[in-house]
């Protein structure tokens, strides 16, 4: 290394000396999840704890109910495939609906003239101030009256419109060059055709951001599905995992394996798309 390179490394060293231990601290719980999930019922109740994994991969087979629990000799009856299917349906449905409502609404607020537009957009802003926790009770009553309790739509429809999504799409469409629209108008193209054929296909980047956020949030959703589902047919993985740890408090090894199974898909999505997710958060500063 050149003299300058060494100097630079020396200058950066204090930063790494602080950052690396912090990063290790942030990553530790995930490592610990792995260690516990690969241990045995005996090994996780040793003090001081064993800090490295023991590689009992069969715990994962037991957590999904394919083989008996190595420590109790019993099958766990947890319908993971059903829970995963439910989560995938809810997350995909919510994402699709949010994309549709955001693209349509964002385009109208950006590019179309209609009486009361300012006022209605102000209403959208006001809605952003309402915390979801505050509306739990009336929303439950609304869904009960629609006979939607314990269903997919109860987990999808209330989250089908996103103020963040509408904002982001509106910003994007406001930035589209006006020439595009003028050229389309010369051909006699109306707004709907223009949106479908030209504007929406150009809007891929903000749509990816909105889609990722919605999907991750829907995958992680816990409180609302806990309230509106009461059978395995519609319960998502998060609620299933919590029910599992409540019902069977005896074997933390399998809970850790279950936690990892539930976390892994979102970890993979996050690592693949972290640029868009981190960039989207940084650009808009939304809450998750």
């Amino acid at each position: 290394m050149s003299r300058r390179g060494w100097l630079r490394a020396l200058e950066l060293l204090p930063r790494y000396l602080v950052l690396v231990p912090f990063a290790a601290l942030f990553a530790f719980p995930f490592y610990w999840m792995l260690v516990i999930s690969l241990g045995t019922l005996q090994s996780v109740f040793v003090f001081p704890p064993i800090l490295y994994p023991l590689w009992h991969w069969d715990n994962y087979l037991a957590a999904v109910g394919l083989i008996t629990d190595p420590s109790t000799g019993q099958y766990l009856h947890i319908p993971w495939p059903r829970y995963f299917l439910n989560t995938v349906i809810v997350a995909t449905g919510t994402t699709g609906l949010v994309l549709i409502t955001s693209v349509l609404g964002g385009y109208a607020f950006a590019s179309m003239a209609f009486p009361g537009k300012k006022l209605i957009f102000g209403l959208v802003l006001a809605v952003y101030m309402v915390p979801t926790e505050v509306t739990l009770v009336p929303n439950f009553i609304i869904l009960a009256n629609l006979h939607w309790i314990d269903s997919y739509q109860a987990q999808i429809v209330p989250f089908g419109a996103s103020v963040f999504g509408i904002f982001l799409m509106r910003q994007f469409f406001l930035g589209l060059p006006n020439d595009l629209w003028e050229a389309a108008q010369l051909d006699g193209t109306g707004h709907l055709r223009f949106l479908w054929l030209i504007a929406a296909p150009l809007a891929r980047p903000p749509m990816v951001t909105i889609g990722l956020f919605t999907f991750v949030a829907a995958w992680n959703a816990f409180l609302w599905p806990l309230i509106v589902t009461n059978s395995d047919s519609y319960r998502p993985v998060q609620v299933g995992l919590q029910a599992f740890s409540y019902a069977d408090a005896t074997n933390p090894v399998l809970h850790a394996a279950g936690s990892l199974i539930v976390t892994l898909p979102i970890l993979i999505i996050f690592l693949l798309a972290q640029r868009q997710i981190v960039g989207g958060i940084a650009a808009s500063g939304i809450r998750g």
Binding site: P49, M112, A113, E133, T135, G190, L271
Partner: protein
């Protein structure tokens, strides 16, 4: 010839205007059409519920039977004057906010300042710090409850290694809130780091450079150049953090939902982890007191609106905008 032409022009202008008017009307109609799916959902599932809680809070409403009576301000009288659990919940919420927000903001800013320059592994370190924020709360909280295990937990092992006594984290009225605060700081700091990093990267580098040329030390450069310029970001992060932690429910539900007796509504030993948001959830969905829960919702909503209003009022005058 000339007269014919002058008669022609206004007529054509009139048809053009009528055309435009017709087209405007069609435009307006399709505008309403396009916003209607989003607006319907926002109105039905956010706006109407937000207004409805005010009416509901004057009712005795049983969530199971669906019966209701108008009882005036009885819910508020009980909640604000006679409900000891609610009083405890308010204080524990303030405790949670005061414990979580300053630490996770200071740590977030500290890490962002360290990460705010080109260096190897920068993206990797940022990703590691941010990951907890994106992961499902149920699984991360479950792992923390193993880490907090009173007998064999790894945190107590670490304390032991330093010669400190074991703590019964989630089973002790003194320690359960600090335990939940530590979890929330771990969970939320990465978000603050990312927002602060974005704020830092928007600052004009020339100013820091000028201060450096003037020989100002890193510490002085931070407080005299970076900190004032960063204040809009800091204010934004503060607002988001306070509001988010004031309405905390989910970590409480997982760490303390079954602790302290599920039939009494959980909330940890001696209700030491009871928060406003959690109490609202329990009243509504464990005890099915929808009217009473609506009264709690109203109080929570008003607190959040007041915080937001205060912050906007105080800070908009103090914050340094470029």
């Amino acid at each position: 010839m000339a007269t014919q032409r002058s008669a022609e022009l206004p007529r054509r202008a009139r048809t053009v205007r009528a055309d435009r008017r017709r087209r405007n009307r069609a435009d307006a109609l399709s505008g309403y059409l396009l916003i209607s799916p989003a607006m319907t959902l926002l109105i039905v599932f956010i706006l109407i519920p937000a207004l409805w809680i005010f009416w509901l809070s004057f009712q005795r409403w049983d969530l199971i039977s669906g019966t209701s009576d108008y009882i005036g301000t009885a819910n508020f009288e009980r909640l604000l004057l006679r409900d000891d659990v609610f009083r405890k919940a308010v204080w524990q919420t303030v405790y949670f906010v005061a414990g979580t927000v300053p630490v996770s903001m200071a740590l977030g800013l500290f890490l962002a300042v360290l990460l705010n320059r080109a260096m190897p592994l920068r993206d990797f370190l940022r990703t590691v710090i941010f990951t907890p924020y994106v992961m499902p709360i149920v699984s991360t909280a479950l792992i923390f409850s193993f880490i907090y295990h009173p007998d064999v937990g790894v945190l107590n092992a670490a304390l032991n290694a330093f010669g400190l006594p074991k703590i019964a984290w989630l089973d002790s009225p003194q320690a359960i809130m600090p335990a939940i605060i530590i979890y929330s700081v771990w969970q939320h700091t990465g978000y603050n780091t990312v927002i602060f990093l974005a704020g830092l990267s928007n600052l004009p580098p020339e100013l820091d450079e000028a201060a450096r040329v003037d020989g100002a030390r890193a510490w002085a450069r931070f407080w005299q150049v970076t900190w004032p310029l960063l204040s809009p970001t800091t204010y934004f992060v503060l607002l988001i953090n306070i509001v988010a932690s004031f309405k905390v429910v989910q970590p409480i539900l997982i760490f303390a939902g079954g602790v302290g007796g599920a039939t009494s509504g959980g909330g940890g030993p001696d209700k030491a982890a009871e928060t406003i948001g959690y109490y609202l959830y329990v009243q509504a969905f464990s005890f099915f007191h929808a009217g009473y829960a609506a009264a709690i919702s109203v109080v929570l909503f008003l607190i959040i609106l007041v915080i937001t209003g205060l912050q906007v009022g105080v800070f908009s005058r103090r914050v340094f905008y470029r």
